[in-house]
Structure formats: structure tokens, C-alpha cells
């Protein structure tokens, strides 16, 4: 006679009455719940990655913002009303998410630029300076000391664009490339009346970050001291390094103080609220589904054990140990839990890969694999589920003698 496998016999005795429909239902709920949970965590995690600017996600806008005071009708008559006082600067540094604050100092003296090779090209203009740590690129030759006649200039890319796409076509002027501009030397006259000084200005670079005409800080300081010693030197604009510009608290701070910013960064805070709502909604639904799945799974196990009560008692009578029978049940059902949770994990990995690929096309970099938080969610939910299930099995078996 063929020897029979012990597990097969025990299975025949204990699992004969099981309801496969309930089992499948609970496994599908567990799978769907876990998948949703992982997706919710992934949405949240990926979005934080993009916003916190880890990886190369500068295209979403740098985390540097230029802020100024909103010019209102009441302010228009008042001189210096848009300047920032030291106390206000301090308040900005202490604002939520702000990591560093720099001041943009403007010239308090007249600047007149002309182009000697193009007669008739002449304009009054302004200059600003910003601490070097806030510049997106510091070009070679970015220094000025009193006595130097050459002044390096960084121009906002926006200005060149405005010229090339707005001004030049309308005036029938040639469009200029960045290198052409850099090759030109401007004559800069600063001061008024007989107190004037002449310099040669040269564009050495372009900035995406700061919408201005930048010169080294030492030059502005020198000019303001020399030509406008009595005018208070207070910044009218601040440049701020912000950790997460989508933080609502930061946006609220700006709104409360009636500050304006040149960046579109803040639109992310609306997006963030939406994403957070979606992620929490999905997470909640996931928890609900997982809870229901776990409940049905536990009920299935308890019912299976209850239906096999007679066989179970007889097995214990034969000398089968409660631990052996509990382990037998666990060995039968835990793999099913792992399969449904594992499938959810595979789907999460695949989704992350697809998402990373799609976003590469939009110049956003995301990791190809889900991050630690997604794995943590998976491990925690698996552990919780295993605890519940094993407790249910041990408790149900305890009821039998």
C-alpha cells in the first residue's frame, strides 16, 4: 500500500469544509487593498521627491524665489515704501521652509548704457547685485574691484527672450544669440553732471533664476557709496532659498504680508493639496479594503477550523500537537497572503518603472524602483496581517481539546 503524506491526510481532515469563495474574496480584497496602499505611498513619495528637488528636477523651477512687496495705489506716492527693513528680512528668514535669504541691492545712482558700434543705441538702465551663493552660475571673471574699468554683467535670460521674440521682430532688428551679446562691449556711464565715471560693461552670462541685470556686489556698493552716500541702502527685493515652495504655510506667509514672487513655484502648493487629498483618499480606501480583506480572511480561517472541529479534536486525541496543527494551517494560508501581497508589490514596482520612464520625457527624474517608504508600507502591512492571521489560528485552535 502506498504510504500517504501526513500533510495530505491532515489537509483532508481540516480543510475539507473550507469555502473557496470566501478565500478568493478575501485574497482579492487583500491584493487590491495592498496595491492601493502602495500606490498611495508611491504618489506621496514621488511627489515629495520632485518637490524637494532631490534628483535633477530643476525644470520644475529652482527652489530660489525672488520676492518683493506688492506695489499698491497707496504706496505709489511713498518713497521707499517697497523697501525691506531689517526686521522684515528677519521675519522672512524665519518663515516656514525658508533656508536662506539674500538681498537684491539696486543702484541708487543713474546708469546710462550706450553701444559704440551701433550709433544711436543708448538707454538709461538699472543694475542689481545679489550675494554670490544665490546665483545659478558664477561665470569666469565675475569680480570687480575699485579701479577696474571692466564690469561683468549677468543678464536675465528673460530679457534676451523678450528682445528676440518681442522687440526685434517688431522693430525689424536682428535677433541676437547669447554668444553675440557676450561679444558686445557696452559703454556704461554712471553718475550725474560732472561726477561721472566711464566703464566698459560686458555680458558674461545669463540667469534663469533672477530676473534682473546683475553686476558684482562690490560694484553696486562702491557706486552707491560714491554717488548716493545719503540714500539709505535697503533692498527692494529679496532672494529666498526655499526648501519646499509648495508648502501652504510658506504661501500663506507671502499672502499675509502682501509679498509678490516672480516664480510659478507656488502653483505647486495647489497641486500638492490635490495630490495629498488623492493620496490620503487612496490610502484610506486601501486601509478599508485591507481591513475587510483581513477580516474575511480571518473569518474564513475561523470558520474552516470550526467546521473541522471534530476532526481537530480527534487529531489532538491521536497525539497531534496544537502547535503542529497551527503551523500546518499557517503553512497552508501564509503563502496565499504572500502571493497576494507579492503581486501587489510587483505591480507597484512596474508602476514606478513606467512612471519614471514617462516622467523622463518631461525632464523629471524619478527612481526606477519604489523607495524605502513604499517598502516600509509593504513590510508593515505584511507583518500586521501575519500577526492577525496567526493569532486567529492559534486562538481558534486553543478552543479545541
Amino acid at each position: 500500500m502506498k504510504p500517504l503524506k501526513q500533510s495530505k491526510l491532515v489537509s483532508k481532515l481540516l480543510l475539507r469544509h473550507r469555502s473557496n469563495n470566501r478565500l478568493w474574496l478575501s485574497l482579492v480584497a487583500l491584493f487590491a487593498g495592498t496595491t492601493l496602499l502602495l500606490i498611495a505611498v508611491m504618489i506621496w513619495w514621488n511627489f515629495s521627491l520632485i518637490l524637494n528637488g532631490s534628483a535633477n528636477n530643476d525644470s520644475l523651477g529652482s527652489t530660489f524665489l525672488t520676492i518683493g512687496k506688492n506695489v499698491t495705489n497707496e504706496m505709489m506716492g511713498k518713497k521707499n515704501a517697497t523697501l525691506f527693513s531689517p526686521r522684515e528680512i528677519e521675519a522672512v528668514s524665519a518663515a516656514p521652509q525658508v533656508e536662506d535669504v539674500g538681498v537684491l541691492i539696486a543702484n541708487k545712482f543713474p546708469v546710462y548704457a550706450s553701444l559704440s558700434i551701433a550709433q544711436g543705441f543708448a538707454t538709461d538702465m538699472f543694475l542689481e547685485a545679489v550675494p554670490e551663493r544665490f546665483m545659478d552660475n558664477k561665470p569666469f571673471g565675475w569680480v570687480w574691484e575699485p579701479g577696474n574699468t571692466q564690469i561683468p554683467i549677468i543678464l536675465s535670460s528673460d530679457f534676451l527672450n523678450m528682445y528676440n521674440y518681442g522687440f526685434a521682430p517688431s522693430q525689424n532688428l536682428p535677433q541676437l544669440s547669447q554668444s553675440t551679446i557676450q561679444a558686445l562691449a557696452f559703454d556704461l556711464t554712471i553718475g550725474r553732471g560732472i561726477y561721472v565715471e566711464h566703464y566698459t560693461g560686458r555680458v558674461v552670462g545669463f540667469s534663469d533664476r533672477i530676473s534682473s541685470v546683475l553686476v558684482p556686489q562690490s560694484f553696486i556698493e562702491y557706486g552707491n557709496k560714491t554717488f548716493a552716500p545719503t540714500t539709505p541702502i535697503a533692498p527692494s527685493r529679496l532672494i529666498v532659498k526655499v526648501k519646499d515652495p509648495s508648502d501652504k504655510r510658506f504661501a500663506d506667509f507671502l499672502k499675509k504680508n502682501d509679498y509678490t514672487t516672480n516664480s510659478e513655484q507656488l502653483r505647486w502648493n495647489k497641486m500638492r493639496s490635490v495630490i495629498e487629498a488623492v493620496a490620503s483618499g487612496t490610502g484610506l480606501l486601501a486601509m478599508l479594503l485591507m481591513g475587510m480583506g483581513t477580516l474575511v480572511f480571518i473569518l474564513f480561517i475561523e470558520l474552516t477550523i470550526a467546521k473541522a472541529k471534530q476532526s481537530l479534536s480527534l487529531l489532538l486525541l491521536m497525539g497531534y500537537s496544537p502547535r503542529y496543527l497551527a503551523m500546518f494551517m499557517l503553512r497552508r494560508f501564509v503563502p496565499l497572503i504572500f502571493i497576494s501581497l507579492g503581486t501587489a508589490a510587483i505591480i507597484a514596482i512596474a508602476l514606478q518603472g513606467i512612471m519614471a520612464k514617462k516622467l523622463t520625457a518631461m525632464n523629471l527624474t524619478l527612481p526606477d524602483l519604489p523607495g524605502i517608504w513604499v517598502w516600509a508600507a509593504l513590510v508593515i502591512s505584511t507583518a500586521a496581517l501575519l500577526t492577525f492571521v496567526s493569532r486567529a489560528i492559534f486562538n481558534s485552535l486553543k478552543g479545541n481539546d
Binding site: 500500500m1 504510504p3 500517504l4 503524506k5 501526513q6 491526510l9 491532515v10 483532508k12 481532515l13 475539507r16 476532526s311 480527534l314 487529531l315 489532538l316 486525541l317 491521536m318 497525539g319 497531534y320 500537537s321 496544537p322 502547535r323 503542529y324 481539546d401
Partner: protein
């Protein structure tokens, strides 16, 4: 393994225990390993109750029962299963087979638990008791006599130091009983085990070392 019974009284019989002239209830008894005991128990004296106490199925008694170092009142479930699987085998009056399993499956459930008896021996013993041809029949379809023989073979399929029997031959004719006794003697000898048989009437199925009236 020594069996010690110390003044056990079933709680339901507590009030009228003095009416019985029992040599077991409320007595101090010690049985050495290898002993062959017969407990004669007329109807209603608590024969099955005693067997259930000994096997750890019921605990509603006063006094104590010890199998070696195991005190039955305090034994935990894991220890109890260990005792049942490897030290004390039992043949119940009501057989207690799995009705949904075949004869062979019923035996395999027991044999596979310890894997100490070969499949060959199991088949040989079935043959000896004349139930080999019923191997594939579901236990629910067997006659009482056949079920009793399956229960007897099943009790042999584990290592044991004591074999406890409750009216083990009640459904067997003389010939079948003799074959069963011979098998039990053979396997008990092999295990160097003791036996405790409880039955209604006096008998000499085995060479008892002690006979007690319940």
C-alpha cells in the same frame, strides 16, 4: 514510566463515592512500568470516566494522576500531545475513527505522526486481524467489529510505555478477540510496555499482574 493514582474522585460522584467499595476511587495506587492491570468495572461505576481521566480528556476530579513526571492536572497541551504520541496509547470503547477517511488513511494518520512503525508491519497487523481487504473502505462503512480491529491496529502504530484499553473487544467474536490479544501481546512485548484494561466482566485475556475492582 510509573503510573501513580492518588485519591482520585470524580467530582460528579463525590457525594456517593463512599457507597462504592472501590479499590481505585479515592485510593492511593502505584503501577510500575510493564505491569498488566485489569480494572473490573460494572456498569455505572465510572470505567470510561477513569479512562478519560487517565488520557487527559477530562479534568473534573479531585486527587492526582501522574504518568512518570507528568501530572495530568497541570500538564499543558503540548506536553499532553507528546505524552499521547509517544508514551501512552489508547483504545477507546467507541473506537473514535475518522469516518471520512478509509481504513488505511485512519492508520496512516497515526503511523505518520511518529514514523516509528514500518508500513510493512502495519499491513502485516491488519492482515493478522483480518481487515486488510477493507483497506480502502471508508471507516463509516465498516462494521463495529471491523472498526474495533482498526482501532486496535491504530493503537499499535506508535511507541508506547502504557496501553490503556476501554472494553477493547466488545464487538469481537472469540476468534477475532484471540487474534487481537495475540497482536497486543506481541507489540506490547516489543515496546516493553504495561497495559491497563478496563472491562465490565472479569477475564483472563492477558496475564494480569493485578486485578482491581472499580
Amino acid at each position: 514510566m510509573r503510573l501513580s493514582i492518588d485519591h482520585i474522585v470524580p467530582i460528579p460522584m463525590k457525594d456517593k463515592i463512599d457507597e462504592y467499595n472501590s479499590r481505585v476511587w479515592n485510593q492511593q495506587l502505584q503501577f510500575n512500568s510493564g505491569e498488566k492491570l485489569f480494572i473490573q468495572a460494572p456498569s455505572g461505576t465510572g470505567k470510561t470516566t477513569l479512562v478519560h481521566f487517565l488520557y487527559g480528556l477530562r479534568k473534573d476530579y479531585e486527587g492526582s494522576i501522574r504518568w512518570g513526571s507528568f501530572k495530568m492536572h497541570d500538564i499543558d497541551k503540548e506536553q499532553l500531545s507528546q505524552l499521547r504520541a509517544a508514551s501512552v496509547s489508547v483504545i477507546f470503547q467507541d473506537m473514535r475513527l475518522f469516518p471520512e477517511l478509509t481504513t488505511w488513511e485512519n492508520l496512516e494518520v497515526k503511523r505518520r505522526l511518529t514514523n516509528t512503525v514500518s508500513e510493512y508491519d502495519a499491513e502485516k497487523w491488519m492482515d493478522k486481524l483480518g481487515i486488510k481487504h477493507k483497506m480502502d473502505s471508508p471507516a463509516s462503512k465498516l462494521s463495529y467489529g471491523e472498526q474495533q480491529r482498526v482501532a486496535i491496529v491504530r493503537a499499535m502504530l506508535q511507541p508506547f510505555e502504557w496501553l490503556v484499553m476501554d472494553e477493547p473487544f466488545s464487538h469481537l467474536d472469540h476468534a477475532n478477540r484471540q487474534r487481537a490479544i495475540s497482536l497486543i501481546n506481541e507489540v506490547t512485548e516489543m515496546n516493553k510496555a504495561g497495559i491497563l484494561l478496563a472491562d465490565l466482566d472479569d477475564n483472563d485475556y492477558f496475564t494480569y499482574t493485578r486485578k482491581l475492582l472499580l
